[in-house]
Symmetry: C2
């Protein structure tokens, strides 16, 4: 049923790169020591002030400022030691083809330093922060180093995958779906025969659309991150957009939480801006439900929910400028006329609506009318 297109198939990412990069950094340290130079690690700063919006790429990312971590410096020696310790553990795991979590790495490296009463790490927060330093220092995200994180997403539709020699046809799951794993770059996308990717906020909506075989009738791929998206779901969406040129549409409730979920798919999160280059999908379009939909599809007044204070606070934040830099905090909202209209309409009406509100028009209204309508008429927000 699926035509072979095979245009964008790319080789699987290998962990050899990560192994080599890690090795290089630490070989350099040893060379410096041998040459009696004080060893220094150079680590891009992950601070808010070093976080910028890259207009050309449409994503938030780290700026050019770099910090130094010195062994010969009393204030830096502890984090220097921690960085080396953790990097060694990651390197060992790579060598042995192990895929631990950052929590495994913490326990693996945690111990009392010989001859002292000092612990290598005080807690997991400390170890996590050092781990992120290693990510920005090497330019490798955790998944590229084979580190596993929790994942939540599911996928179904006209796509064929391959993992460990198994061919996985995502049209063959019946009412089930493919559970997207953390290291989803280790999955080959063999073939795709779809016109677009529909990302659904809510798992139950995903299941209902799958039940109706929406993906078959509309030649698409259905994905859900089951609420706020996990890293693997975001990465899979990004890959489908980047490697297979598929448009990405995001379907959420009509409320600031839904917009925030869209925002994470679209541009990444501010606190983890260094990940955007692999996880954010600036071409993702917000399909709905929109404030205009409420009128257009005549959602009854009693089907709307009164916005609460948190909703209103969140909505206002999306249009705020940073007091220091004077630039908008969420430029992809602020600089879009349609988004400003949407958010202002919400702030004026102070109501929100759930996707399920469309069921007032019948259980199949969403799948048979609303979604095809919106997509065919290109009625989305970017």
């Amino acid at each position: 049923m699926i035509k072979t297109r095979n245009l964008k198939e790319r080789p699987l990412e290998s962990f050899d790169d990560a192994e080599r990069k890690l090795r290089q950094i630490f070989v350099k340290l040893v060379e410096d020591l041998n040459a009696s130079k004080p060893p220094v690690l150079r680590i891009p700063l992950r601070t808010a002030s070093n976080t910028i919006f890259d207009k050309k790429r449409g994503i938030i990312t780290l700026g050019g400022r770099v910090g130094e971590r010195k062994f010969n410096d009393i204030s830096g020696v502890r984090s220097f030691m921690q960085t080396c310790l953790l990097a060694r553990a990651i390197y060992e795991a790579l060598k042995n083809n192990d895929h631990p979590t950052i929590r495994d790495l913490y326990y693996y490296t945690l111990h009392t330093i010989e001859g002292t009463e000092i612990e290598t790490f005080n807690d997991q927060d400390e170890s996590n922060s050092i781990f992120q330093d290693i990510e920005v220092m090497t330019g490798l995200l955790r998944e590229q180093m084979g580190i596993v994180a929790e994942s939540r997403g599911a996928m179904v539709g006209n796509i064929i995958l391959e993992s460990k020699g198994n061919r996985i046809d995502c049209t063959k799951f019946g009412i089930g779906a493919f559970n997207i794993p953390s290291l989803c770059d280790q999955i080959r996308i063999l073939d795709v025969d779809a016109d677009y990717v529909l990302v659904v906020e809510k798992d139950a909506i995903f299941q209902r659309l799958n039940d109706y075989e929406f993906w078959r009738k509309n030649k698409c791929i259905l994905i859900t991150g089951k609420g706020q998206a996990d890293r693997a779901t975001r990465r899979m969406v990004k890959r489908l957009n980047e490697e297979w040129d598929l448009p990405v549409y995001v379907l959420t409730d009509a409320d600031p939480f839904g917009w925030y979920i869209y925002s994470t798919y679209r541009a990444g999160s501010i606190s983890l801006s260094y990940e955007s280059f692999r996880l954010a999908c600036p071409e993702a379009k917000f399909l709905g439900m929109t404030m205009t939909d409420i009128e257009k599809y005549e959602i009854p007044r009693d089907h709307l929910i009164k916005a609460n204070e948190i909703d209103i606070k969140r909505a206002k934040e999306l249009l705020v400028k940073d007091p220091v830099t004077k630039s908008p905090r969420y430029p992809w909202f602020y600089e879009s006329k349609k988004w400003r209209q949407e958010i202002n309409m919400f702030l004026e009406k102070k109501v929100k609506a759930e996707i399920e509100a469309k069921s007032s028009k019948g259980f199949r209204f969403l799948s048979d009318v609303y979604l095809p309508d919106k997509i065919n008429s290109k009625d989305w927000i970017t």
Copy 2:
């Protein structure tokens, strides 16, 4: 690779039963009306005082007390109307082969009653409660009526499923997994070649065990509910135990939250006791991590986490007796010598431990030593 056993294959559940049962109840109402009898709905009480522990079956369940909902009664007429309205919507969905969520049902039935300013429901809580009444009244859980809920679980290992004519071999997902859908009774279990089911609390641990092909080496089925278990994961575990006689082992962190997760698989939740007959698996065994494991496997002191007040409060609750009935609130903990020891050891030491703490002995210690060790020596708690 998988031997055909096919001993326990049972026919798929049909929604016809649900349709018939719903119809019966409302045909009876019409008959009563025609015979000039006041129409009455009889609904088992979902109150705490009508919740009992069925020792023989080892699950919590509803007692025998039943409430009446009368049309000819000013205090009952609103909920009578709501029950009929919602039941009709469920019946319609069944007739049309639609599988809405309870939220869809709410929006579908929500409207202003003609000629009044009265809403059919004030909010979703009101509608959800009436929905639960329909579940206990018919003796059918929402899934048996084709109502979809969010699901979270994943499964992998020596099991072959069938859904909508597709054969789904759970050994063929590579690093991915099968995403368990809400209506998992609509999935046929074609074949199983496994000695047990291992239920893993944490998704990342599940992924790591899958990466090592633990299920292949140990001839088992791996399942995760990604934290507190959703209904579908619990139902799938129950089915594997009931239909295929597989022992079920649960692996969580060594802390009261982990015990609570086990407890939900084991006996169900108190507030939804009427569901236990389909969702609780009284034969589920708690594999670990236990307090004794901490000593046995020499988990270093600095790898333990100090219990906080909430942990201690939770642990104490597990051994409490109900002040009114004088019977233990969690009999499966209270009446088990091993469980009492475990909980008391926790209350004495006031420490907890994460599964990942075992990584201090190497990243493969959990999969290659701990799990096979515990299972082979039958070192579990029931």
